[in-house]
Homo-oligomer: 276 residues x 2
């Protein structure tokens, strides 16, 4: 039996050594959401020194559209910690994967297109953001907070529909996160309803301790009519400057379109939100 | 003996399943360089479908300062392949790690500071870029080309001293790479020697088939005197537009400094070099 044990150790040794040569940035997990009644996947990245210093606790970044942006945001956080000019405290990054973006990320059901018009016979879609928000901040956060050394600081990052979700959460459930980063939020949704409601949602509210960044792709496009930019500008220029005690940042990207703005926007947002 | 084998399979099964849940972006390797007479580390990322389609061959991106930028550039390439608007063909990314940046990345030995002045008693440093270039394009490329399905297209990415190395390689050994991406190259090195030599280095040369991008951090700084920006502007405006048949792109980043420009610069460079 001793000989078998020795044999086992020698058998496993090269496997262990080989696996040390992999460069891994996180792990894949899933949990069953009773709110959404489905299995949901999420990916978790831990800061480099997580195992080394077991007394430190960390901010959690909830990154929507994790399938598209997890690798980039982990990379950006890695560069920010190795290159001069640190702009982000070491963070736990939780990439949340999609099942049905329209259902989960939009605050109201709507049949309207990007140009604000409704084609005859189109059925309303979406409107499930309240349930998704409960999954995110009750079920998923519960698992994250009980599994890792979190410090109670939470950040939400979203682009496009996820940017709309981020802004909607900021406006309606401000208390749920500390830092909000929304890139090119789809404010054209439901004929611009959220931007119309924004003024009344911030009225009388105190945003002390909260930070918001909005990045906007402002490259002119001729291929489609879109009420998006008008709604965003209204929010940026008229509404948000009135939010009391809010740390608010924004940037317009005249050379980026809705798709290409995500990475430069997230990068600039992190830099402005956490910069010195 | 059969029972022991069955026991082994059950013992290893959970390990295998657990390891499948890791999110890995590459592997760490090293090789002994006879040119540099030292062991050199490099990291390799293979495109997602590398094992799935064994007939496809890929461009290789040689990324300098791999320790700082490997994760980010892998992430950017990942986002470019999952989000609308693909801007980069699937590529093998080779991150090259540093041993002595000043020695390896500068083309001449120099005692001059960023302001062009030489403090009394300062000894010249650097000047080893020819040896490092041979390591990179003979020894390392030899290993990469014989280990992976490369297609003969090679790209070089470098920031700061590595940007200087990238530009020097472009000017002196144009044939060695197809695409060059230099971010905020340290043209102040040796009192701006490379930019002084640039005009004669491009004279009479045909750059057909070659592409170059230069990203420049143009945020004004008051904390130090630096001859860098003058040298860069001279190169961008006077010299490079004369390079025959060169595909040349550049961008100035007025809100970024030398440290923060790396990621937005690499992102924009890839977008411009490979965009439609």
């Amino acid at each position: 039996m001793i000989r078998i044990h020795i044999f086992l150790v020698f058998l496993l040794l090269p496997l262990t050594m080989r696996s040390q040569e992999d460069i891994c940035i996180g792990k894949k997990y899933s949990l069953y959401s009773t709110v959404l009644q489905e299995e949901r996947n999420y990916w978790v990245h831990l800061p480099d020194n997580y195992e080394g210093d077991t007394t430190q606790r960390y901010q959690v970044i909830y990154l929507l559209d994790g399938d598209s942006f997890f690798h980039s945001v982990v990379g950006i956080s890695q560069t920010f910690t190795t290159v001069k000019g640190k702009h982000l405290p070491p963070s736990i990054i939780v990439g949340v994967l999609n099942v049905d973006r329209t259902r989960d990320l939009t605050p109201t059901a709507s049949a309207a297109r990007r140009d604000g018009k409704i084609s005859p016979g189109t059925l309303p879609q979406g409107g499930g953001s309240e349930s998704f928000c409960r999954f995110l901040t009750e079920e998923l956060r519960g698992v994250i907070d009980s599994s890792y050394r979190t410090n109670g600081q939470n950040m939400l990052i979203g682009h496009s529909y996820s940017g709309l979700f981020t802004l909607n959460t900021f406006l309606r459930h401000t208390e749920l996160f500390d830092t909000y980063l929304a890139i090119d939020p789809s404010l054209w949704w439901d004929q611009g309803k959220l931007s119309q409601e924004a003024a009344s949602l911030i009225e009388g509210k105190n945003f002390a301790g909260k930070s918001l960044y909005i990045g906007v792709a402002s490259k002119k496009r001729t291929d489609r009519v879109d009420i998006h930019l008008n709604k965003v500008n209204h929010l940026l220029q008229e509404i948000l400057p009135q939010a009391e005690n809010l740390r608010f940042f924004s940037k317009s990207f005249p050379e980026e379109n809705h798709g290409t703005v995500a990475i430069p926007g997230i990068y600039d947002g992190i830099k402005q939100l956490f910069g010195k």
